[in-house]
Subunit: 519 residues, 2 copies
């Protein structure tokens, strides 16, 4: 067997690779970034560790990037498709409809380049790739409230997302434990709620992150989780709260300590929330805005003296009607800002409230919710805890409890990869309502010391299924045995790029595909 | 309540703290190390985050370290006790019998120093500490064969061990997947068996690690695991092997791929092993030498044509008698080197071989083996997988299997802490045979990208129970609720010292002791 029969032709890459593009600021900055990556990197996949220097058949003179439109609006409708042609000789071309399609193609191109002795090459040329994502929402939930993350660690995570063509940074920016983000409307929230003056995000920090993400084709969707998960608000506004830090029986009032919810019997909590919405819908430009709505605890309100007094004065009302009214006022207000609401599935499925049909539901509890939601006409993103919660499997974290976590076991990359958000959904109209998937890194047991290995390469496994779907062009559903080599390669590439992705197996297995399968 | 009633007196620490000692090279190098740590560090425990500047009552002029003997022999009998006195004013004194006791006292002293505004202080002075370990073996098993670790990451791990008064680095240096260590007797083992020329440990590297460990009071016990776990030997010596890399049904022949065992029917494998023992018992000075002996697979031999032929020619013998003879020849030879054998529990409990009673058994499968072994007069170290295997709980790692690992779930720090190696053992003579405990970091799913958070702070939880035992002086068995604040403190201290220990909880919980307990 001739070598060319195995690998096709090999294009040499000159030591200073010319990448040129014309697509406005987004494409220009990406071209600079990828020129650096391609020139610096000399990556060889683990499976090729014994490969000798390959004879080249031609020399690639450059990569020319062009886009149909330089419009850099980034949203759910952004076209991320691209067409990449790499000849054996001469210039490669990358064509895209939008700047963000060009970014995806640049990432693909960078992954084609491999070390070849002291030089670099692209194997199997000529190459023609016509590529587009299956799902428009390929996200990561990042929780900066349970523990704080520096801007550097957020930027590194955005880099890593871009290496995997992920496009939504769901910034779960505040929660019960801390309020790191600046508020100009209520400065005391940050002042009293941040872990320290150093553990904060100013307006400038937020804008910097949004810009950094945008240059990588990543939308930043902020989440301000109300009315539960709000203990930290009470440090500044105790008059708005119910069941503040009940101890020791916090579990009667909240999913985790400290308990505390906005008091839904008080119209002031709607005013407060709507003012936050007014402020942060301006700071965060994305068309989608997440308003939480998860894990509200009825006991917290039912046992609150103010709520009890209100209900005594208003026969016919109850906690449920108060909650529906509350959700409704907040969602209606959000709609006036022009944003689409993004909300946890409980808002629909665990309450009597019926959100408007522009609302995007984030499913996490029950895979059946995906089907239920799309059959009711809602768009969904799935973060099914059983497959997408990358923090899980780390055991319980309550100090006095030697037990498992509610969401054990650990979600392996195989388990993440095998998840099918569209399982059992056949109606094409309903399928279109599936926007995608989102891995979550809840931070009770994570901070920046460990975020890289906790996310990667497992988030990359999700990213592939969200970009390429479950099946290849022939309809064959990809198996993890087939994917393993590719994911090893991507893991080692990411480590080379400065992301501390954890190893999947002994290096021996990475080098011997198929040898570490269960018979 | 007066402040002094809470915190005792506070001794100020001058900006350049004088630490002086007289105890030979070990103490002198430790004194330099801790002088640097104490001068550099300005640590405040998370629980004290709101503490204002404390008024000092005196000023500490220095710490004088003295030892009874400068003999720097490090072994099972090393005396690690120390007495530390910290007055409010003047000089603190640290007295120890051996240099290694002084090291432990220096670590304790460094942990007493806390930031106090722009200055430093020691709280609750005067302090008198009379301290000694409960167990002489407080170990970490480190596997450099499934994946490779750089010298830097090993040294960082040894630093971290010293911060937790751990004293045994069990270096599981080779295994089926790779042979990184130099052999002068069989150079081909490393040449063919290392993952790459860069992923190796030369004699000089090994000596450097042993010296680095010794200066931290840590013994290095190497493990050369025979006769199983030896596929990698077969790349150089195929004639010595049985069941080399059987595929795809490796699971019939080995606990994990690749299969391969030294052929116990061939006396050449005994010669080979004994030559390795001759070589490496010289390179590694410790009095204890680990010869593996775990997870041998009888099918591997029973189905080997050479073994079958041997048994056909030798009626009355069988695989079991061959194995007993093999163990016996190897252990007898090891004894002639003057070393004490350290071996996995299977050598006794899963074979008919009866090791001599100087042998130390490492229990990992069954907690009942601890009792069985000590009742038979063997010394033991426990690495009970259910509590001490820190790699577990990460799910399966075979590429095509979406399942749990055999040793799920994850071992939380609470679970590690709650382990009692001496459970149900009351006879003082038997109790003395318990040398201690050892956490294990098997590296199928670990390499240096993730070793820090995978080990710490959980190994610190083991370290405390191995140093201080399960109960305090009054007999009260410590609970994890009581320990949590101390371990948080240690975790943050380690992060400050450059160890990427993972967070145990939201910072909010670290700052609010007791608020994150299960009711």
């Amino acid at each position: 067997m001739k070598l060319s029969a195995i690998i096709g032709l090999v294009a040499a890459i000159p030591s200073a690779m010319a990448v040129t593009g014309n697509g406005g600021q987004i494409v220009n900055s990406a071209v600079n970034r990828y020129r650096d990556i391609i020139n610096k990197e000399s990556f060889v996949a683990p499976v090729d560790y014994k490969r000798g220097v390959l004879k080249t058949s031609g020399s690639l003179q450059g990569l020319v990037v062009s886009v149909e439109s330089t419009d850099d609006t980034l949203g759910l409708d952004t076209d991320e498709s691209y067409i990449l042609d790499v000849p054996v000789d001469g210039k490669a071309t990358l064509k895209a409809k939008s700047p963000y399609g060009a970014l995806r193609g640049l990432e693909t191109f960078s992954q084609l380049v491999t070390g070849n002795g002291n030089s670099k090459a692209i194997l199997n040329t000529p190459i023609h790739i016509d590529d587009a994502p299956v799902y428009p929402h390929r996200g990561l939930l990042f929780d900066t409230a349970r523990n704080f993350y520096s801007l550097d660690s957020i930027k590194r995570t955005l880099d890593a997302m871009s290496y995997n063509k992920m496009n939504v940074f769901h910034w779960h920016i505040v929660d019960a434990q801390s309020w790191p983000v600046e508020s100009k409307t209520f400065p005391e929230l940050q002042k009293n709620g941040a872990y320290s003056a150093a553990q904060t995000y100013s307006y400038n920090d937020v804008k910097q992150i949004i810009q950094y993400a945008k240059e990588r084709g990543i939308r930043v969707i902020p989440e301000f989780d109300v009315p539960g998960h709000t203990y930290i608000v009470g440090l500044s506004k105790p008059e708005l709260m119910s069941c503040m830090n009940k101890q020791p029986n916090w579990d009667h009032f909240a999913a985790e300590p400290p308990s505390g919810q906005l008091n839904i019997a008080k119209p002031e909590t709607i005013d407060f929330t709507n003012k936050l919405i007014d402020e942060y819908t301006k700071l965060f430009p994305d068309e989608v805005f997440h308003v939480g709505g998860d894990e509200v605890n009825r006991n917290c309100w039912a046992e609150d003296p103010d709520v009890q007094k209100y209900l005594a004065d208003h026969p016919g009302e109850d906690v449920e009607s108060l909650l529906v009214n509350w959700y409704s006022k907040v969602h209606d207000h959000l709609e006036t800002t022009g944003k689409q609401a993004y909300t946890w599935e409980e808002t629909l499925f665990h309450s009597s409230y019926v959100p408007n049909n522009k609302t995007i539901l984030q499913v996490w509890i029950d895979q059946a919710s995906v089907q239920k939601a799309v059959s009711q006409g809602y768009r969904i993103v799935s973060s099914s805890y059983d497959s997408m919660y990358l923090d899980c499997g780390h055991g319980a974290w309550l100090s006095n409890w030697d037990g498992n976590s509610w969401c054990d076991p650990f979600k392996t990359w195989m388990h993440v990869y095998n998840y099918d958000v569209a399982a059992n959904i056949t109606d094409p109209k309903q399928k279109k309502l599936i926007l995608g998937t989102e891995v979550a890194a809840w931070s009770e047991q994570i901070d920046e010391t460990v975020i890289d290995p906790r996310l990667w390469p497992r988030a990359a496994a999700m990213a592939e299924t969200a970009w390429s779907g479950k099946a290849d062009a022939s309809g064959h559903v990809r198996t993890t045995a087939e994917v393993a080599s590719r994911l090893h390669e991507q893991r080692f590439r990411m480590v080379g790029r400065g992301i501390n992705a954890e190893p999947m197996q002994p290096l021996w297995c990475a080098r011997n595909p198929g040898a570490c399968n269960l018979p």
